[in-house]
C-alpha cells in the first residue's frame, strides 16, 4: 500500500473543489445517458407524437393551429419533462450510487444542481432544439417560433429544477409516478401560463420583455432555491429507505 493511502484523519482536500465534483457528476450522468440512448429518445418521441397527433385529432385548420400551436408545444414539452423525471434519481437510488453521492465531502445542493443540469441538457435542451421544426408544422410564424423557443429555453430548466424536488421526495415510494405528477403539476402551472402567454403576446404584437423578465425570475428562483429543497428531500428519502 502506498504512503498516501495511510489511514489517518486528513483535512478536507482543496485539490478537489466543488466545481470539480460537480463536473464529475455531470460528466458521469451524460456518459451513462449516452450508453442508454433509448431512454434519451423517449421524451423526444413523446413530444413529437403529441404535437403531431393534435392536428389529426382536433383540427388541421391553419387558423386553429396558429392560435393554439404554442400552447400545444408547451404542454407537450411540459409533459415529456414530467415523463422523464422519475429516472432522474431512480437508477442511482437502485444501484447505490446515490448514497455515495450524498456521502461525498461536498455541498450536496451543488452536486444536485449538476445532476439536474445534466437532466436538462439531456431532456429539456433537445426539446428546445426540436421546437422550431414542430413550430413550423403547426403554422407558427417566424417571430412566434423565435419567442416560443426562447420561452422554452428559459422555462424547461425551471421544469427540471422543480421536478427534481418531486423526484427526490417520491424516491422511496414504489409507485411514485402518480404522486410525482400531483406534486409537481401545480408548480408547473405558472411556468406554463407565462410561457404560452409570452408567445400569445408576441403574436398580438405586444411587448414581451416584461413576460420574459418574469420567466427569467422564475429561472433564477428555481436555480438558487430548488437544489436546496431537492437535497433536503433526498436526505429524507434516503433516511427512510
Amino acid at each position: 500500500m502506498n504512503a498516501d493511502a495511510r489511514p489517518s484523519v486528513k483535512p478536507v482536500s482543496s485539490a478537489v473543489g466543488p466545481l470539480g465534483a460537480m463536473g464529475a457528476v455531470f460528466a458521469r450522468d451524460v456518459r451513462v445517458a449516452f450508453r442508454q440512448r433509448q431512454d434519451l429518445l423517449n421524451p423526444l418521441l413523446f413530444f413529437i407524437m403529441v404535437v403531431t397527433l393534435f392536428p389529426l385529432g382536433v383540427s388541421p385548420e391553419v387558423a386553429f393551429l396558429k392560435q393554439s400551436g404554442a400552447g400545444i408545444l408547451w404542454v407537450a414539452a411540459l409533459l415529456s419533462v414530467l415523463l422523464s423525471l422519475d429516472h432522474l434519481f431512480r437508477h442511482d437510488f437502485d444501484d447505490g450510487t446515490l448514497e455515495q453521492l450524498v456521502l461525498q465531502p461536498q455541498p450536496l445542493f451543488l452536486l444536485i444542481l449538476a445532476k439536474t443540469a445534466a437532466h436538462w441538457v439531456l431532456t429539456g435542451l433537445p426539446l428546445v432544439l426540436l421546437a422550431p421544426v414542430l413550430g413550423v408544422m403547426v403554422h407558427l410564424d417566424g417571430n412566434s417560433i423565435a419567442i416560443l423557443c426562447l420561452t422554452l429555453l428559459i422555462g424547461t430548466p425551471v421544469l427540471s429544477m422543480i421536478g427534481a424536488i418531486g423526484a427526490a421526495l417520491t424516491l422511496g415510494l414504489r409507485s411514485a409516478g402518480v404522486l410525482l405528477s400531483l406534486l409537481i403539476i401545480p408548480l408547473y402551472i405558472p411556468v406554463l401560463i407565462f410561457g404560452t402567454g409570452t408567445v400569445a403576446a408576441a403574436a398580438e404584437g405586444a411587448p414581451v420583455a416584461g413576460y420574459l423578465a418574469l420567466m427569467g425570475a422564475f429561472l433564477v428562483l428555481a436555480v438558487t432555491l430548488a437544489p436546496f429543497a431537492s437535497a433536503a428531500a433526498l436526505r429524507i428519502s434516503l433516511s427512510n429507505s
Partner: protein, 212 residues
C-alpha cells in the same frame, strides 16, 4: 492513537414503531476491527447507515474526533468510507469509470493507481468492460477495489462478503486486518463467520449490548 475516531453515546433508533436499539454506546478507536452482529432485522444495516450519516432517524449523540459530527460534516465525510448493500456500481459504466466516479469529490487519483486496485481485486482485463457484463461477484469486486485506493481512516462496510468466492473472502479478511494494524478503524456487518484476532463486537438484538 488513543483518541476515538467515532464515539456513539446513548444511540437509540426506532423503525416502523419498533425499537431497534437504545442506550447503545461505543467508541471506534484507530487500529481496531469491530463486527456488528445480530440476527436478521435487528438493525445492523440501520446502525451502519446511521454511523455513515445516511439515516437521520435516531437520537443520542455521535462524536467525530471528540466533537459533534454535525458540526464537521465535511471532515467526517472526507475521512469515512461507507460501502453499502447496494455497491454503488453503475451497470452501464466500466469498472474504471465506476471507480473514478466513486473517488470523485474526494481526492485526485491517477489512472495507474485505479488500474492497480482493479488488478488487486482480480479484475485485470475487465477494466473497460461495462459492469453489466460482469458477474455479481465481479461487480462486488469493483466496489471492493475502492478499498484498495482508500485513504479514509474509518471504514463502514455492510455485508462485504456477499457474492465473493472463498479466496476473495480470505483476501478481504487479510485486508481488513492489515488495515487495522496500520491504524485504520473498520466496522463490518456480516453473516459470514468472521473471527479475527482482536476483533471487537457490537451485538444487536439483545437490547444493544456492547462487549469487547
Amino acid at each position: 492513537m488513543s483518541e476515538p475516531l467515532l464515539q456513539a453515546i446513548d444511540l437509540e433508533c426506532e423503525r416502523d414503531e419498533r425499537l431497534l436499539f437504545q442506550n447503545l454506546s461505543f467508541s471506534i478507536l484507530p487500529g481496531t476491527l469491530t463486527r456488528v452482529e445480530g440476527p436478521n432485522g435487528t438493525g445492523k444495516t440501520t446502525l451502519l447507515r446511521i454511523l455513515a450519516g445516511l439515516n437521520d432517524a435516531w437520537s443520542g449523540q455521535l462524536l467525530w474526533c471528540g466533537q459533534p459530527r454535525m458540526a464537521q460534516r465535511e471532515s467526517f465525510l472526507r475521512n469515512t468510507l461507507y460501502l453499502g448493500h447496494r455497491p454503488g456500481i453503475k451497470p452501464l459504466l466500466t469498472p474504471m469509470e465506476n471507480l473514478r466516479a466513486l473517488m470523485a469529490g474526494r481526492r485526485e487519483i491517477a489512472d495507474g493507481a485505479l488500474a492497480r486496485a482493479l488488478e488487486g481485486t482480480g479484475l485485470s482485463g475487465f477494466e473497460h468492460v461495462p459492469c453489466r457484463n460482469l458477474s455479481a461477484g465481479q461487480q462486488r469486486r469493483v466496489a471492493l477495489a475502492r478499498l484498495l485506493v482508500a485513504d479514509e481512516p474509518l471504514w463502514l462496510l455492510d455485508e462485504v462478503f456477499t457474492a465473493i468466492d472463498a479466496d476473495g473472502v480470505r483476501a478481504i479478511e487479510a485486508l481488513l486486518q492489515q488495515r487495522a494494524e496500520e491504524g485504520g478503524a473498520v466496522l463490518v456487518t456480516t453473516h459470514h463467520d468472521l473471527d479475527l484476532p482482536g476483533m471487537q463486537r457490537i451485538t444487536l438484538g439483545t437490547g444493544g449490548q456492547y462487549e469487547r
